[in-house]
């Protein structure tokens, strides 16, 4: 039981996709301009991750080793397209905001990485937990970075303005340099915390 729970909590902190594994960094920089975008992107990726991990785990004995990457990519690409179509139909505003980064979930190293490192070796339930844990970890990281960038760069929290009237936000944080900077500085914070608490 604790082993299974371990698979879930692993993705949250110990092997957090963004701050530890450093996988799937493109959306981290590009999409984190508002809290909703960061959260939405994280959830979309998490859903793809869950579907893919489960499918790969179910089919793992029917995938010969030499074609495994090709098969993984096929499965992942299909899942991403499914999520893309669903978003286009039911969350059109988020779909527009995330734009080209939705199909780019296909090449998110995290998704392919978990299929390769975990789902093709472990059982379905464990793979599902791994996906959910990693998905949560990724969403948490994206949302955190988005919150920082949105507060500093736009003076709002999930579009609710929180700056005192007349105060001007630091626009830089919404723009590309701010993305690099926020990620870099949060990285530094995470590294320091890890060293201090020996995680």
């Amino acid at each position: 039981m604790s082993k299974l729970l371990g698979y879930f909590t692993n993705g949250l902190i110990k092997e957090n996709p963004t701050f530890v594994l450093v996988l799937g960094t493109c959306p981290v920089l590009a999409i984190t301009t508002t809290g909703f975008n960061g959260f939405g992107m994280g959830m979309a990726t998490a859903i793809v991750l869950l579907l893919s991990n489960v499918m790969v785990s179910i089919l793992k004995n029917y995938i010969p080793d030499k074609v495994r990457i090709a098969v993984f990519i096929t499965i992942i690409a299909t899942n991403v397209t499914v999520v893309e179509l669903l978003m286009k139909a039911y969350t059109p505003d988020l779909y527009k905001a995330l734009g080209i980064f939705i199909p780019l979930i296909i090449v998110n190293c995290l998704v392919l990485g978990r299929a390769e490192a975990f789902a093709q070796k472990k059982g379905v339930f464990a793979s599902a937990l791994d996906a959910i844990g990693m998905g949560f970890g990724f969403t948490a990281a994206l949302t955190l970075i988005s919150i920082v960038r949105e507060i500093l760069g736009n003076g709002s929290f999930f579009t609710i303005p929180i700056l005192p009237a007349g105060a001007h936000p630091m626009l830089l944080f919404i723009l590309p340099p701010g993305a690099f900077l926020t990620f870099g500085l949060l990285f530094l914070v995470m590294n320091t915390l890890k060293r201090k608490f020996k995680i």
Binding site: N61, P64, A77, L86
Partner: protein
């Protein structure tokens, strides 16, 4: 059961069968989301048109007209024209093209403008979606209101540090106004409300 061996037959079989299953599943999802996707697009159109027009009781979407790349949605109430929503665009934005929905009253004055699709810089040009910028156009008639940014000798308050986006915005609205005037409306003359009174006098239309 151990993993399948990597023989040529197995590899081809596995890849083909799985691919076919994936494509089939995808085709199915495509089919069932087609309707909702069209609905979502339509809903956006309806929302935008309704936002910029006064109350109406016809179906402007059904009766929309496309002229020179812009789309015109005539709105009537009780048979009388109450306004026209114009979907316009400009390619002079900082990040390229963006679309606007401008709501005109029958005399050519602006009821409201909403920005549709835009990719301007967040915090700068993107501020043009906010009422702080768009509200200044309400009730203005282009015949008397200089539709250029103050820097260019006009009366429009540009967004600070986003002159290009502001200029492009004016460009889009100007396009809409010019084509609207050319094809649909009579510009307001010195006597305000002339068009309205003729409409009322006329009684029933169509």
């Amino acid at each position: 059961m151990a993993k399948m061996e990597s023989t040529l037959k197995n590899m081809v079989l596995s890849l083909s069968l799985i691919s076919m299953a994936m494509v089939a599943g995808l085709g199915y999802v495509y089919k069932i989301t087609k309707g909702p996707i069209e609905m979502a697009d339509k809903q956006k159109e309806i929302t935008a048109v309704t936002q910029v027009l006064p109350a109406f009781d016809n179906d402007p979407i059904k009766q929309k007209k496309d002229i020179e790349g812009l789309t015109f949605y005539m709105a009537t109430k009780g048979g009388l024209p109450v306004g026209c929503a114009v979907k316009t665009f400009t390619t002079k934005g900082f990040a390229g093209r963006f679309d606007l929905m401008v709501g005109f009253k029958p005399d050519g004055s602006i009821k409201k403008i909403v920005v549709l699709d835009q990719k301007e810089t967040p915090g700068l040009g993107a501020k043009m979606t906010e009422p702080a910028f768009t509200d200044q156009f309400k009730e203005k008639n282009i015949a008397t209101f200089k539709l250029k940014v103050k820097k260019d000798g006009g009366q429009v308050d540009a967004i600070s540090a986003a002159t290009i986006s502001s200029r492009a915005f004016c460009d889009g609205v100007q396009k809409a106004y010019d084509l609207y005037m050319k094809n649909f409306a009579k510009p307001v003359t010195a006597v305000a409300g002339v068009s309205d009174t003729t409409a009322v006098k006329g009684g029933k239309h169509e």
